[in-house]
């Protein structure tokens, strides 16, 4: 039993160590290091020896001294087996090994005798591995997007693996793609249009949604139940089935290529979510507060303006941010309705850029960074509001 747990512990922990080191090696390759072999077996065997010596030493030495010296020995061995690697790379290996040995802390020869220890080992390392894996898979494309925008097409065609940035260049040289897309491709204008459309959508949506949500939450009227269920059903219908009729009608009315047309469509498609989210919150406001307002002689308008809105600011904020994000990221309608570069939104402009095969990729990625950054900043800054918005409005994209 103990032997089986020991083997399991060695294999799993070493597998985890090998995975992180491989990720480190891949990232270093992207900095221009010339590795052509992952040397998985070598690292794996070294990792097994490392884990084994860790449990064998046990508690005889202070934990900190133990992990530092073990990692140091590991790094030295690793260095001698792969001679060509630079010192910063080996230092990275040392740090990773230090982190890894620190995670081994709770294992010793005694602990391997516990109940269900094999399952616990697996869960432990899968958790760790999973977190590293998810973080890597999520962030890697964003990293490539950012770094590509600082490189040049020619350099990337010569060596598609060299993403190292040359910081000795002047700032204008480094940010060249950004200057180019603002000067030649008019991105300043597109940012303005995108912001105008998104902010406009937020304002108009709130203007329509707050009264409607209040009525659905509080007042009794014929067709109320029908309305609140149809809200749910309506937003299951996708934009793609609306696009042909809207396109034809908008062409005949001359609303294509106009920001106003886009604003109407965005507002109408986000309204159901907004009403749904707001009415849920309005229902949670105690009715007594409103009754007090009625006593004071307020009419419905006054109640909404002076009681409901101030009390539900957090919900309104999360609706506003959520709607802003939908409008900012929207692509299908802007693809269909806008075909003159004068009225492009950011998303449409990037798609238009990519339509020309001659456009160097760093411009495309610089545009992508510009359209992505505001959303990510807003998201990080207002995460709390947005997460509640996402959960409530999840039925909609």
């Amino acid at each position: 039993m103990k032997f089986r747990s020991l083997v399991l512990y060695l294999v799993i922990s070493s597998f985890f160590h090998t995975c992180i080191l491989s990720i480190w090696k891949i990232m270093s390759t992207l900095q221009g290091l010339n590795f052509t072999n992952l040397n998985i077996t070598q690292i794996f065997v070294l990792g097994i020896l490392l884990s084994l010596s860790f449990v064998l030493i046990g508690n005889k030495v202070n934990h900190l001294i133990k992990i530092i010296s073990l990692s140091f020995i590991f790094s030295i061995l690793y260095f001698y087996l792969n001679e060509t690697s630079p010192y910063w790379y080996i230092f990275g290996v040392f740090l990773i090994t230090l982190f890894f040995t620190n995670k081994l802390k709770k294992y010793s020869m005694q602990s391997l005798r516990e109940d269900f220890i094999s399952e616990k080992i697996i869960f432990d390392f899968i958790t760790l591995f999973g977190i590293v894996f998810f973080a890597f898979v999520i962030l890697f494309p964003f990293y490539i997007m950012l770094v590509t925008s600082f490189k040049t097409q020619i350099a990337l065609l010569v060596n598609p693996l060299d993403f190292s940035l040359d910081f000795t260049k002047s700032l204008t040289e480094l940010f060249k793609s950004y200057f180019v897309i603002f000067e030649t491709y008019n991105f300043g204008r597109y940012i303005l249009i995108s912001s105008a459309v998104s902010i406009g959508t937020v304002i108009v949506t709130l203007l329509f949604a707050i009264p409607a949500a209040y009525a659905v939450a509080r007042l009794n009227f014929f067709g109320k139940n029908f309305l609140s269920t149809s809200i749910l059903i309506i937003y299951m219908f996708p934009a793609i089935v609306l696009v042909i009729p809207l396109y034809t009608v908008f062409s005949q009315l001359g609303l294509r290529n106009s920001i106003f047309g886009l604003l109407i469509v965005y507002t109408a498609t986000t309204l159901p979510v907004a009403i749904y989210m707001l009415q849920g919150y309005f229902k949670s406001i105690p009715k007594e507060i409103e009754d007090a307002g009625i006593m004071d002689g307020q009419n419905w308008f006054g109640i909404i303006l002076k009681i409901i809105i101030p009390l539900s600011l957090p919900a309104i904020a999360s609706v506003a941010l959520y709607v802003f994000m939908i409008a900012w990221n929207e692509f299908l309608f802007s693809l269909m309705f806008l075909d003159s570069p004068k009225s492009f939104t950011l998303s449409r402009a990037i798609q238009y850029l990519s339509g020309d095969a001659e456009t160097p990729r760093q411009y495309l990625m610089a545009g992508s960074v510009i359209v992505t950054l505001p959303v990510l900043f807003i998201f990080i800054y207002f995460e709390k509001y947005l997460v509640s918005g996402l959960t409530a409005g999840s039925v909609k994209e």
């Binding site: 269900f116 958790t127 009403i275």
Partner: protein
């Protein structure tokens, strides 16, 4: 008393709700019904403009005589397929100017040439000439003549509103459109995209729910793909997966994992052999599904995490006392607690993946075996510019969606209310 109050309440409710309802009705519900109408019409993209009479005015001098000018109006019907009835024309001139030998269809009254051109058939063109003369023999200023634009009017049928219907589009959808393959691709994409997103969502939620440092940061990072703009993310992935200079292929070749680059987004099938069995995998479609999972597992993660955090910790403590293993805890405590949310998520994601357009469009444009129903709407309606056909495909989507929703409300609707 209370009766009038409830009447007032009703009236207020309707005034509050009506603007929103009307807007949603006009932009969301109306098009769904309009699709039915259009899908029975034989109509193309170029037909949707209402035909209008147009005129281009050209002013020319005649010989040496400066008091006379020739004005040419290039008249045409803007439509290639529809006639315009009862075309009226008028153009204004400065004082003292008279037309010579005016066309019999026209007359000159109070400084205006007014013409009745009758009906113009489709593609109608005519060069209509008028010679004008200054009555006091002075030079006519060309610029003034040219600056006035003629006004034309006429009635034409709106091609959308005519009442000739046809079943052609639906016949084409079902018999000439590779309908079976279209449907199977759509379901393949939808099913695996949904299941994959939910599985990864459960995994991620399970991981983040452990007591790890930086849990909130991790939650934020995991949501990045979901909140990022689809255009930026799709193009980044196309660059990453590019067969010639994409990072992924370059890495795999560099570490000798594959011999030559694989065109992950441009190759329909790849033959794989596992344990001696050879089978064909739909490569481009699978890649698109992976992108889809990458982008939407965060949503599943968010929901499942919220549910996991609501599970009382005492349940796990009790299990610990009873000597349950981690796997037993997961199967007997966690899983039953999250089945309800998973079934809701499955249905929502299923419907939304079924409708997915942007992601596939931006990655492959529907090529190499990734043509799904929504992509087909775009291809028919705008690439082939057969609007009637595009609408017919939309109708198929709507019908399928309605049947999904019926199933949804039958199976899960009641459960959803319990949560």
């Amino acid at each position: 008393m209370s009766d009038s109050l409830s009447k007032l309440e009703k009236r207020t409710a309707y005034t509050l709700v009506l603007p929103a309802v009307l807007l949603v009705f006009a932009i969301v519900l109306f098009p769904i019904f309009a699709n039915v109408w259009i899908s029975f019409k034989d109509i193309e993209l170029k037909d949707i403009r209402i035909p209008e009479p147009r005129a281009k005015k050209i002013v020319k001098s005649i010989s040496e005589n400066e008091s006379e000018l020739k004005v040419i109006y290039k008249l045409r019907n803007s439509s290639l397929i529809q006639e315009i009835r009862n075309v009226q024309f008028h153009d204004k001139f400065p004082k003292n100017i008279l037309p010579i030998d005016l066309d019999p269809r026209c007359n000159f009254k109070s400084k205006k040439i007014i013409c009745d051109f009758g009906n113009w058939e489709a593609k109608y063109r005519e060069n209509f000439e008028v010679i004008i003369k200054n009555t006091n023999d002075e030079k006519i200023d060309k610029k003034i003549i040219k600056s006035r634009k003629p006004i034309l009017s006429g009635t034409a049928n709106n091609p959308l509103l005519t009442t000739n219907f046809t079943l052609k589009n639906f016949k084409k959808v079902f018999y000439e459109n590779n309908f079976v393959e279209l449907l199977s691709t759509t379901f393949y994409f939808t099913f695996f995209g949904t299941v994959g997103a939910i599985i990864f969502g459960i995994l991620a939620a399970q991981l983040v729910n452990q007591n790890i440092q930086g849990r909130t940061y991790m939650r934020g990072i995991l949501l990045f793909p979901y909140v990022g703009p689809v255009v930026a993310l799709a193009y980044t992935w196309t660059l990453l997966l590019d067969p010639n200079s994409g990072t992924l292929n370059a890495l795999l070749v560099n570490f000798n994992i594959i011999e030559k680059p694989i065109n992950l987004l441009g190759q329909k099938y790849i033959t794989m052999s596992i344990l001696g069995f050879e089978f064909k995998l739909r490569l481009a479609l699978t890649t698109v599904i992976f992108f889809e999972i990458w982008r939407y597992f965060p949503l599943a993660f968010l929901f499942i995490l919220a549910r996991l955090q609501a599970i009382p910790q005492t349940l796990y403590e009790a299990a610990e006392v009873d000597g349950a293993s981690p796997i037993q805890k997961f199967i007997h405590i966690t899983l039953p607690q999250i089945t309800a949310i998973i079934s809701i998520l499955f249905m929502i994601r299923f419907i939304w993946n079924f409708n997915k357009f942007e992601d596939i469009f931006l990655l492959t444009g529907g090529a190499s075996g990734t043509r799904t129903l929504p992509i087909n709407v775009y291809q028919q309606g705008f690439a082939v510019s057969d609007i009637g056909m595009g609408s017919a495909v939309s109708i198929v989507i709507v019908m399928l969606l309605i049947s999904f929703m019926v199933i949804y409300f039958r199976l899960i609707g009641k459960k959803a209310n319990e949560i």
